[in-house]
Symmetry: C2
Subunit: 419 residues, 2 copies
C-alpha cells in the first residue's frame, strides 16, 4: 500500500535522530527534550539547525501568528537581515548599541549590522512614501531571522544568537491611533497564546533599549522563567520589580508569585524614531507631523521552548494540538504482516481525513516505539498490536494524561476525529 501522502510521515523515512541519553550541554528541560526528540541540533554556540520535526513546530507557530496578524489588518512584508550602518546612525543607535549588535563590513568597507530589530529599516522604508493622513493607519509585520550576539548564549532556543521573531510596526496619525493599534495587537497576542494553549500573563514592562513609554510583556508561566512576576485572579499582573513600587490591586483576591518566560512584547514607541529619522505625514491642513509609532514582537522560536517548559513529563514533550509536529502517532507493534498493514491503513485513513500522522512500522522493539512516541509528544497515539487486532480493537492513548482506551479498529479513526 502506498504510504506517501502530504499528511503522512513514516518513522522509517523521517530524519529524527532521537537520543536516549540527556546531552550534557543542555540545562533546561526544553533544550534537553528538543535535542533528545531530534528536533534541533547545535551548529555553533547559540546557533541551531532545525530538523524536520522541530521545523514543523516552528512553521505552525508562524502560521498562527500570521493568521492573527492578518486578521487585524496587518500586512506582511520582509525586511533585510543586512542593515546599513547609516540608518542606525540616523536613529542614534549605532554608537550606543552594545556588543550584542553583530557588525560587519562588506567588500567595499561599508558598515552593516545583522538586524536585532527593524525600527530603522521600516521607518526609512515608509518615510518617503507614506505621505498622507488618508493612508493611515498602516501596520506592517514580518516573520524573520534576528541576531543578537549574547555574551553567554544558552538554554537552547530560549536565548540564542540567531532566532526567529515576528515584528510588527504601526504608523498612525496620533496617540488615539496608536492606542487603537496597541489594543488590536494586545488582542491578537492573547488569541495567539490561547490558540497555543499557553498559560500566560500580560504584565506591565520596562521598555528598555527600544525606547518609548507604554509597554507590556507576554509571559509564559514556567519555573524556568527568568522574570519574577506577581499576578492576581482579577487579571492584574506585573513584573515584581515594577510592582514593588506601585499600589496593590484593590480587588482583594490573593496575589500569586511566579516566574515567566518573555515570549512577546508590545511597545508604544511614540515619535522617537519618526522624529529622529524625519518620517512625517501631512495632516488635513497640510502640516508635516511625525508618525506616532508602535512596535510589537513575538519570539517564534522561543515560544517552542516555552511551550515545552510549560508542558512535559519525564518521558518527553507534550505538545498542544495546534503546534504539534503531528496530531497522531500510529504505532505498529510488528514491523510486518497484518499488524503493520492494519496500522498503515489506519494511518492512511486519518491522513486522508486531514489529520497529520506519523506512522511507526520500524523493525524496532515496541518499547523503543513507545519511548520515541512519548518523547516526540504528539497529542494522540494509536497502538496496533497482534492481540488487539485479533479482537478487532486498537488502543488509543492520550499523551498528556497517559489515559488509554480501546476502540474497534474500524471506528478508531472516527473516534479520534470526533475527540
Amino acid at each position: 500500500m502506498p504510504t506517501r501522502h502530504p499528511n503522512l510521515t513514516t518513522m522509517d523515512e523521517l530524519y529524527a535522530p532521537t537520543l536516549k541519553e540527556t546531552p550534557a550541554e543542555a540545562e533546561l528541560i526544553s533544550h534537553q527534550l528538543m535535542l533528545r526528540a531530534g528536533m534541533i541540533r547545535k551548529t555553533a554556540s547559540g546557533i541551531y539547525s532545525y530538523l524536520p520535526l522541530g521545523w514543523r513546530v516552528i512553521k505552525k507557530i508562524e502560521r498562527i501568528v500570521r493568521e492573527e496578524m492578518d486578521a487585524i489588518g496587518c500586512q506582511e512584508v520582509s525586511l533585510p537581515v543586512l542593515q546599513p550602518a547609516e540608518l542606525w546612525q540616523e536613529s542614534g543607535r549605532w554608537p550606543v548599541y552594545g556588543p550584542e549588535l553583530m557588525r560587519l563590513t562588506d567588500r567595499h568597507e561599508r558598515e552593516f549590522c545583522l538586524g536585532p530589530t527593524h525600527e530603522e529599516i521600516i521607518t526609512a522604508l515608509v518615510r518617503a512614501e507614506l505621505r498622507s493622513y488618508k493612508q493611515l493607519p498602516v501596520t506592517l509585520y514580518q516573520i524573520n531571522l534576528k541576531f543578537r550576539d549574547e555574551m553567554r548564549p544558552r538554554f537552547g532556543l530560549m536565548r540564542g544568537r540567531e532566532f526567529i521573531m515576528k515584528d510588527a510596526y504601526s504608523f498612525g496619525a496620533d496617540q488615539a491611533a496608536l492606542d487603537a493599534d496597541y489594543a488590536a495587537q494586545e488582542g491578537a497576542y492573547r488569541r495567539i497564546c490561547e490558540r497555543m494553549e499557553m498559560d500566560y500573563r500580560m504584565v506591565d514592562a520596562d521598555s528598555g533599549e527600544i525606547g518609548g513609554s507604554v509597554s507590556a510583556e507576554f509571559m509564559a508561566l514556567a519555573e524556568a522563567g527568568e522574570s519574577e512576576i506577581v499576578y492576581c485572579d482579577c487579571g492584574f499582573a506585573a513584573d515584581t520589580e515594577i510592582y514593588d513600587q506601585e499600589t496593590c490591586p484593590k480587588c482583594g483576591a490573593p496575589l500569586h508569585h511566579a516566574r515567566g518566560i518573555e515570549v512577546g512584547q508590545i511597545f508604544q514607541l511614540g515619535t522617537k524614531y519618526s522624529e529622529a529619522m524625519g518620517a512625517t505625514y501631512q495632516d488635513e491642513d497640510g502640516n508635516d507631523k511625525p508618525f506616532v509609532m508602535g512596535c510589537y514582537g513575538i519570539g517564534v522560536t522561543r515560544i517552542a521552548a516555552a511551550l515545552i517548559e510549560q508542558k512535559h513529563d519525564d518521558r518527553g514533550c507534550i505538545w498542544p494540538a495546534s503546534v504539534a509536529p503531528a496530531q497522531v502517532a500510529v504505532l505498529a507493534l510488528d514491523a510486518e504482516g497484518e499488524v503493520a498493514e492494519a496500522a498503515t491503513k489506519l494511518a492512511r485513513t486519518l491522513a486522508e481525513a486531514g489529520v497529520e500522522v506519523i506512522l511507526d512500522t520500524r523493525a524496532e522493539r515496541p518499547g523503543a516505539k513507545f519511548a520515541d512516541a512519548d518523547l516526540i509528544g504528539c497529542p494522540w497515539q494509536l497502538i496496533v498490536g497482534k492481540r488487539g487486532l485479533a479482537a478487532g480493537v486498537v488502543e488509543i492513548k492520550k499523551r498528556a494524561t497517559g489515559e488509554t482506551h480501546e476502540a474497534p479498529l474500524a471506528e478508531a479513526a472516527n473516534h479520534l476525529l470526533e475527540s
Copy 2:
C-alpha cells in the same frame, strides 16, 4: 458591508506605493516593474525590502517549491545563516572562497560567514547521526536566506546580495542512489517551472565552485538572460560554451539560440564534501563509506524577476495565476454609491468562493485605477461602472491579452470561477 476577509484586500488599505515614473536606478524591466508596482524597495545596494504585494509573490513561489519537494519525499529543515569558519576550514573552502563570502567575527573573535550555500553545515549535521545504510537515502531541504557579496549588485532581485533560495541536499549509499535522487529533483524542478508557466530549458552545465561532476541548469528563456544557450525541439539544450565542444543533436530539427536566466541548478556532488569532512555510513558489511551526495538549488526571489522578464507589457506585470499577488482586481469606477457597493459585493462573493481579490474603491480617477491594476498585473480584472451597472453587466478583462467581454453582474463571479 464588512470587507475584511482573508482573501480580500482593498487598495485603500494596501501598502503598495505605485510609481508613475520609471526609477533611474533600474535597468532591467523586472526591476523597474517591481519598483513601480510597489513590490520591492532598495534598502542598500543589492539588498531589498519586500512590500506586501512582492512578498505575496515570493510566498507563493515558496509554496510551490515546498509542495514539489515534499511530494518527492524531501524533508524540510532550517539551517543557520551564521556559519562557523571551522566547518569551511574542514571542507577546504574557507581560504579559497573569494570576497563574495561575507565574513564577520563575533564578540569572542570567533570567525563566521553568512552562508552563500550550506554543504558544510548539512554535512556536519548528518555525519554523526545518519549512520546506517538502512536510513538511506535521505534528502533534506530548506527555503532560506542566502548571502553573496557581489562586486556590482544590480538588476534588482536578479543579482542581489541577500536573497532567498531553496537548497536541497541528498545523501545516498552509492551512485545509483544519487542518480535516482538527481532524477527525482529534475522531475520536481520541471513541475515547479510548469506550475509557474515558465518557458524554461534544462541545460548541461559547468558545476563551478560547488564541485562535483554532473550538473544541469534550469534556464528561464528571456532576452535579459546572462547566459547564451542553444536548444532544439527534440529536447536537447546546452550552454553555448559547452555545446561548441560537443556533437550536435542528431534529430535533424533546427537549432534555436536564446538567452537564459539561471533559476535553478542541480549537482551531483559525489563524495567531495563527505570525504573532506569524514561523513560516512556503515554498509551491510559494517564498512564505513562516504555518503554520495547531491545538491539542488532554486533561486526563489530570482524566479519572481525572471517571470516578469518573460511576461510583461508596457503597462506592467503579467503574472501567472499560480504566483500572482491576487487572481482578480475588482475596480469600482466610482468610490461611493451603488457602483462601489456592487463592486464590494462582487469582491466579497469571489473571496468567499476562495478567490484572492484586490478591491479598488479608492477616490481616484478611473485612469489611475486602470493603470495600477495593469501595473500590478493580476490575471483578471472586473470593472464595475455606472453605465454597465444600469444595464446589469460588468466588464471582464484578461490582463495578458487585454481582451474584454461583458457578463451579467449576477453571473460574473461564476464566469470567472469557471474560466
